[in-house]
Symmetry: C2
């Protein structure tokens, strides 16, 4: 491995001079700096991030946390989009990304300890159980954090516009003449609560009464569970004309169930999803859904985290709303 010592010897200067020259310090003669840079290139010198991190107390490495237990793992398109855009933005700004988990090999540690162990300059909490004490410990620690879809007190967060999203969908469906709307929702997270509240509020505002049996629990990203919920809804004495699914993937489970009952979409039943993953737009029929601004969320999460890392004293916690958009699709029939 080529170190600054090798360069200093080759150039006949001290290691300090080499370090300063490579970092563009002002007290190095231009000629010397040029000679040093030349030698560095010639010798194939690469800075050692580890050594630098040890000295300067900054690793230029940020942690990303995907809790494995919440089912919000990286294999879901919504999260992998966030991860990909966060990664791209972080790299653009000179930071690498490391996953943060509970327990590493034989060492048992929590998220906070893991982040410290790896000297992460900050952590993006992308998907987690926000009641988990280990998550709370990290999110209220001295380590800069940005959470997605949840806000801790005096902390920065990126929020998907769940309230507006649900409202947009309900209004769209309403404008297409629907008055009996059923809503299958995911596990009771804060996001789910927001969506349910917005669904109910918008319905109320539009003068729609939603019987309680029209609101059904299921599990996010689980076609089987949404299939069951769909069946329960179909067995009601009075069926809704439109079913809201917790997410696009869950819609597929509902779709199978509808088919089994000989119900065609959108002829006999209208449906809407949520997320707007690319897949939803290549399905036949094309799904009516609300696209969350996943890329923007990832990008903003990385950007704000790094800003916070680099200007800790002037930092003001903030919550950024990432706007999504309605993808009209063709699974809502106009029954006006």
């Amino acid at each position: 491995m080529v170190t600054i010592t090798d360069i200093s010897k080759a150039c006949g200067v001290s290691r300090a001079t080499v370090s300063k020259a490579l970092n563009g310090a002002p007290d190095i003669a231009p000629k010397t700096a040029a000679r040093i840079r030349e030698q560095a290139k010639a010798l194939g010198y690469l800075p050692n991030a580890t050594a630098r991190a040890l000295k300067v107390g900054r690793s230029y490495n940020i942690g990303v946390l995907f809790s494995d237990t919440t089912g919000g793992g990286i294999t879901h398109e919504y999260f992998s989009q966030i991860l990909e855009s966060a990664k791209a933005e972080a790299e653009r700004l000179g930071y690498d990304i490391t996953f943060i988990s509970k327990d590493l090999g034989a060492m048992s540690m929590d998220y906070y300890e893991h982040a410290k162990y790896r000297s992460c300059d900050g952590v993006i909490i992308a998907s987690a159980d926000f009641q988990d004490p280990a998550i709370i410990r990290l999110a209220t620690s001295e380590i800069p954090t940005v959470t997605l879809d949840y806000t801790f007190d005096s902390r920065t967060s990126i929020l998907s516009d769940n309230v507006r999203g649900m409202e947009t969908l309900v209004r769209f469906v309403y404008e297409n003449g629907h008055r009996r709307l059923a809503f299958i929702h995911g596990e009771m997270t804060s996001v789910t609560q927001k969506r349910i509240a917005s669904f109910k509020k918008t319905c109320a505002a539009l003068g729609i009464t939603v019987p309680s049996e029209y609101i059904r629990p299921a599990v996010y990203h689980d076609p089987r569970s949404s299939g069951l919920a769909t069946r329960a809804i179909l067995e009601l004495p009075e069926r809704p004309t439109c079913i809201f699914y917790p997410d696009d993937l869950s819609f597929l489970g509902g779709m199978s169930e509808l088919e089994r009952h000989g119900i065609a979409v959108p002829r006999d039943m209208s449906v809407v999803g949520y997320d707007g993953i690319p897949l939803s737009q290549v399905l036949r029929p094309k799904l009516t859904t609300y696209r969350q601004g996943a890329e923007k969320m990832g990008t903003e999460a990385a950007r704000l985290l790094i800003e916070q890392i680099e200007h800790p004293d002037t930092w003001l916690p903030q919550s950024v709303m990432a706007e999504g958009e309605l993808l009209p699709g063709s699974t809502v029939r106009n029954i006006g």
Copy 2:
């Protein structure tokens, strides 16, 4: 930050003693070691991976490389499954995962340099253009690597059983009475070449003649491009009875095109996909496809890489085949 120095002071021993005690060295009296461990816990001591890495020359950090340009990004389910399982296995073995990219902020570096800069103990090359000189440099360097779906000379790799996969699919379709098979393939990578070769070979072995216009190029994971290829095939004077798609997602693009022509699957046209992502099994009709052993590939990649890192002298390069399986689905009609 609590360091071994703090512990050494609190216990009235030297820092060396603390280090040895915490690492279970044999020349520390059990009583002393216990006292030190106790103090460490009481003070909330956390080892500093950075400092340790600098001294011992091992970072317990492995790089994962997803080339952004090849379209084989983390958002594709096949790759995100590999990533997730590799991550889980690496963590189980005490290693963290960091993404390796070209260029980091202002520094322009190639993959090899990035891996060195971060002192990665090894790198999993998950998705890349294997002709790219930057990839070749990394994969032939002194850094331990494991490549997925490609083998470099005297290097370890994990291979999806593309040859067997295609053969299985062709035979399955053949047994269902099909003799006119069209194949839409992805970009000309080594994987694609293997699949095409296996397709042709199996057809030949079964006595099927494949006209060259039945073999069409498209782009992986791109429904639009497979839609175009599908159209071209439908315009042929003699249509095939079954179309092979480059992957499950591409099938969706084909599906739209077929619908546009009033062709129902599998009534008027049989189709098969490739990959066997979870989505394919919740689609209606359920897709006939070949499930690649993505989780196993990720797990094995991490396991073998770490074995290679920990036993470099006795290491023998190897290629592990991760077996997949046929998912029969219902998009192939029996026309026997």
